[in-house]
């Protein structure tokens, strides 16, 4: 792209490279903020979407990679890299004032690599407890269990409320501690065990009567260290972990990881596998949206709607069971194709399902969309503007409900999406009702995709032959796919071994919880729960 080349030529301190559509820009850490703010704020092409922040341990120095994208040309990516060789007290300038999502990403990097970000107003650990010793994703991390024994007491509340900060005060760095809540605030814990947090999420909410003043999400209650585990696993083993990230769009995560590995191996995947994967992905999306719809209705007190959603989802689970063996964790995609060929009944059952689902969608609209109480509650609550959605990185249906066109299936068509004719559902209001209705509309679009592909599955092999031991060549590989709740990215850094040197999954749900934090302020308790349902986050995806 000419525009991007021009832009990058204005950064004299940067070394740039281009591979596929990804520009790699390395800058010294002193110039990081300048480069980031130039890319964000220039008037030619603003890189307004911070896709992900990846921490890296290169061995002798620690680095951070910022993946940026411009909503104007969403298929081009800039990987902005920086590194510091101070392993004792690594410090990098924070970019949290440029992108709203950056603050949380930086906390994650801080948690795993110990890098402190100067001027980030909240440098608590994100997933691990404050009293955890060491930074687990560093290569010199000591895994000795005596260093971190199983804790026998609750985490100190002060640790959750005191935010360590490094600030620039009159040109000098200072270590400070900020308080999250005032002493007289009325704080209610929603979670970790709560019926409406969709998993073990812990929201600390400051209330003024029924009004919400502040929301502080705490993560990490089901942090399984999947990224750390993956560094010791082979690639086919890692696939099984990806199903467990966002379990409601498990097959999509797995598909994305397979694509990333296949990209590295330069493997030709048979068309048949592409078609099958796409159909399974779309079925997963339908199932996930049905559950999302049902859960949101249940959060608003309509339990019958939830049961209806589960009932229709069950049909998809039965199809999965027959073809894949698994139901929730389908375990279907493998590197080079799919695990085994589709069941002889597969096409028949899917074709039966499509008209059934269309009929049921009407029923769902009748039961809930048209309900005056439901309409009244959703109308005018939880406004998320397009700019804010982009800045927060709220991808998927949430962003599209605000009018941000961010569907990776359209931006970077992968698998068989280029053969299907479908439209990206966009709404413009960004209210709760839009986030609600867009899911039902997307089910309709997914059904269209399945309808077009199901009769045209080409013959041939269902998987390409791969070597017994899969070793990825040295390099960095990045793959984006459209999960059910937003963009799911896989970033693999390989040193040529059978396991990755570093693997990072972009969690679409983490930014969604951050979105909740912004849009819930000023609403009522009942709205907070409803907004959570409308964003439809899944906690294992956040915690990884």
């Amino acid at each position: 792209m000419k525009v991007i080349d021009e832009l990058l030529s204005k950064l004299p301190f940067a070394t740039t490279g281009l591979k596929d559509k990804t520009y790699t820009v390395s800058v010294p850490k002193e110039n990081l903020y300048e480069a980031a703010s130039f890319l964000k704020k220039n008037d030619k092409l603003s890189f307004d979407f911070l896709m992900d922040v990846v921490g890296m341990d290169y061995g002798d120095n620690l680095g951070v990679i910022y993946y940026l994208s411009a909503t104007q040309y969403p298929s081009y990516i800039i990987a902005l890299k920086t590194a510091t060789d101070d392993r004792e007290d690594p410090q990098i300038d924070s970019i949290s004032d440029l992108w709203e999502s950056a603050g949380l990403y930086e906390r994650e990097v801080h948690d795993f690599f110990g890098i402190r970000f100067v001027n980030n107003q909240d440098m608590r650990r994100l997933f691990l407890r404050q009293d955890w010793n060491g930074y687990p994703l560093r290569k010199d991390y000591d895994t000795n269990p005596e260093l971190n024994p199983i804790p026998l007491c609750n985490e100190d509340l002060n640790d959750m409320e005191n935010m360590p900060v490094i600030e620039m005060v009159v040109g000098e760095k200072q270590d400070n501690v900020h308080k999250l809540f005032d002493a007289e605030e009325y704080i209610v814990n929603f979670g970790p065990q709560h019926p409406a947090t969709h998993g073990v999420l812990h929201l600390r909410v400051s209330l003024e009567g029924e009004m919400i003043k502040k929301v502080d999400p705490n993560f990490g209650y089901i942090h399984r260290g999947i990224e750390k585990m993956s560094e010791a696993y082979t690639y086919p083993q890692i696939l099984h972990l990806t199903d467990r990230l966002d379990y409601l769009s498990g097959t999509i995560n797995r598909h994305g990881t397979c694509l990333a590995v296949e990209k590295g191996l330069e493997l030709d995947v048979p068309e048949r596998a592409h078609y099958i994967r796409t159909i399974i992905d779309e079925l997963t999306r339908v199932a996930s949206h049905l559950l999302g719809w049902g859960c949101m209705a249940m959060d608003m007190g309509s339990i019958t709607a939830f049961v209806y959603g589960m009932r229709d989802r069950e049909k998809i689970m039965d199809i999965f069971e027959e073809t894949c063996g698994g139901r929730l964790m389908a375990n279907y995609s493998v590197i080079g194709g799919v695990m085994n060929d589709i069941h002889p009944n597969f096409q028949k059952r899917v074709k039966e399902f499509i008209p059934y689902m269309r009929k049921m969608l009407k029923e769902h609209h009748l039961l809930f969309t048209g309900n005056p109480i439901a309409r009244d509650r959703m109308e005018g609550v939880g406004y998320l503007s397009k700019e804010q959605a982009i800045s927060l990185g709220a991808t998927g249906p949430t962003g599209r409900a605000s009018g941000w066109s961010n569907d990776v299936r359209k931006i970077e068509p992968y698998a068989a999406y280029r053969h299907a004719d479908f439209k990206e559902v966009l709404r413009s209001d960004g209210l709760t009702f839009d986030r609600y209705i867009i899911r039902l509309d997307e089910i309709e679009e997914s059904l269209k995709i399945i309808e077009q592909l199901i009769d045209n599955i080409p013959g041939g092999a269902y998987a390409a032959k791969t070597k017994a031991i899969i070793k990825l060549p040295e390099g960095e590989f990045h793959q984006r796919v459209e999960g059910a709740r937003g963009e799911f990215d896989v970033y693999i850094n390989s040193k040529g071994d059978k396991s990755p040197y570093r693997i990072k999954f972009r969690s679409p749900c983490m930014t969604l919880v951050n979105t909740l934090k912004s849009i819930a302020v000023g609403t009522k308790v009942a709205d907070l729960i409803m907004l959570g349902g409308s964003l439809d986050y899944v906690v294992p995806c956040i915690d990884r």
């Binding site: 209610v188 029924e210 309509s302 009932r311 039961l367 109480i373 709205d527 729960i529």
Partner: protein
């Protein structure tokens, strides 16, 4: 028509032939107490079973089907379980108020239950201020709920109790005004008199448009009084886990649970008594043959049939509607139901003076 009067009067005469008046009265009191409590518990079991089956029907499920034929003994099994459950001692609650709250709720509910006329003669207390008594006693329950929320020393219960206070006190108004409309029509507060008046036309037909409006308002407000369905904000499972009774366990929780179901029935029973003719069969003036056939159905059956239709309506609403938000809830009462109720009273006055 077979009235239960026959049985109760026979018992009364039988006791008085062998005992002095005072002792006979005492034994009658004990008997009535036992009967009311038993009926209360049995009715609760039936209602729980009905609710689970109806809910299953709405949700395309089967519902309880393992214990006994069609699962009819499921709620009995549940009762035995809840009686055997441990009462967990909660740290830092106010133990006296904590226990008192559960008792208050169930006592208020039983007291209301006692005043319902199931049949002529099957009526524990028949005051001349029956309607007033019903309103007064049933609203005692809110004290129990507020106490439960306060004594539990928990933020969820506290929010639940505050919501409950706001909700019950607000909806009490519409509830009372709707009942007053009928009192205006009948000119009496005595429940037996109100029922007798409806022998040829139930109040809902006799009272015309204002009675129908009052009936609808009473169903909505009464439903809100039971903390169920779209009005379950005080419990709001997905927001406040279980609202005001989060900390309760065992039979203390059971008291809240029982009272909730029975309150649903009580609201239906009051609606039946005041609007749908109580135990009176359906009579149409002039159709003597039809009226005679209707008389063959015992009045107790009529009463329960009408009540259960109202209960079914409540269940239908509960399992269809999402929950209201607190501001919508209060708007509905203060901006819609209350003004309509007040206007309706005037309408009823006009109806009573010029039309009947």
């Amino acid at each position: 028509m077979f009235h239960f009067e026959v049985v109760t009067q026979w018992i009364d005469r039988f006791l008085r032939t062998y005992l002095q008046g005072g002792w006979a009265l005492f034994i009658e009191f004990v008997l009535i107490g036992v009967v009311v409590l038993t009926a209360y518990a049995v009715l609760a079991l039936i209602l729980i079973y009905v609710e689970r089956k109806v809910c299953a029907f709405f949700q395309c499920r089967i519902g309880p089907n393992r214990v006994g034929p069609f699962g009819v003994f499921q709620s009995v099994a549940d009762m035995i379980k809840i009686l055997l459950k441990e009462l967990i001692k909660i740290d830092r609650v106010d133990p006296r108020l904590f226990r008192l709250a559960a008792y208050l709720v169930i006592i208020a509910s039983i007291c209301t239950f006692g005043a319902i006329p199931f049949d002529k003669g099957l009526h524990a207390v028949d005051f001349n201020i029956g309607v007033f008594y019903l309103l007064a006693v049933s609203s005692l329950g809110v004290v129990g709920i507020l106490l439960a929320g306060w004594a539990s020393n928990n933020k969820y219960t506290m929010i639940g109790a505050m919501r409950s206070g706001a909700q019950l006190i607000s909806y009490e108004l519409s509830c009372g005004l709707a009942l007053m409309t009928i009192v205006m029509l009948s000119g009496s507060m005595q429940l037996s008199v109100i029922v007798e008046q409806q022998s040829y036309a139930w109040n809902i037909f006799r009272g015309g448009i204002p009675a129908i409006i009052a009936f609808v308002i009473y169903l909505i407000a009464g439903h809100a009084e039971t903390n169920r369905g779209p009005f379950d904000l005080p419990e709001a499972e997905s927001e406040l886990t279980a609202g005001y009774h989060t900390e309760y366990s065992g039979i203390q929780f059971g008291f809240f649970y029982l009272a909730e179901y029975l309150n649903m029935f009580i609201i239906a029973a009051i609606a039946t008594t005041l609007f749908l003719g109580g135990w009176m069969p359906l009579h149409i003036p002039g159709w003597d043959g039809f009226n005679e056939v209707m008389d063959y159905i015992p009045p107790v059956l009529w009463f329960f049939a009408k009540s259960f239709i109202c209960v079914f309506l409540a269940l239908w609403v509960r399992w269809t509607m999402p929950r209201l938000r607190i501001d919508q809830l209060l708007n509905l009462e203060w901006k819609i139901l209350m003004p309509i109720s007040l206007l309706n009273i005037i309408l009823m006055a006009i109806w009573v003076i010029w039309i009947i």
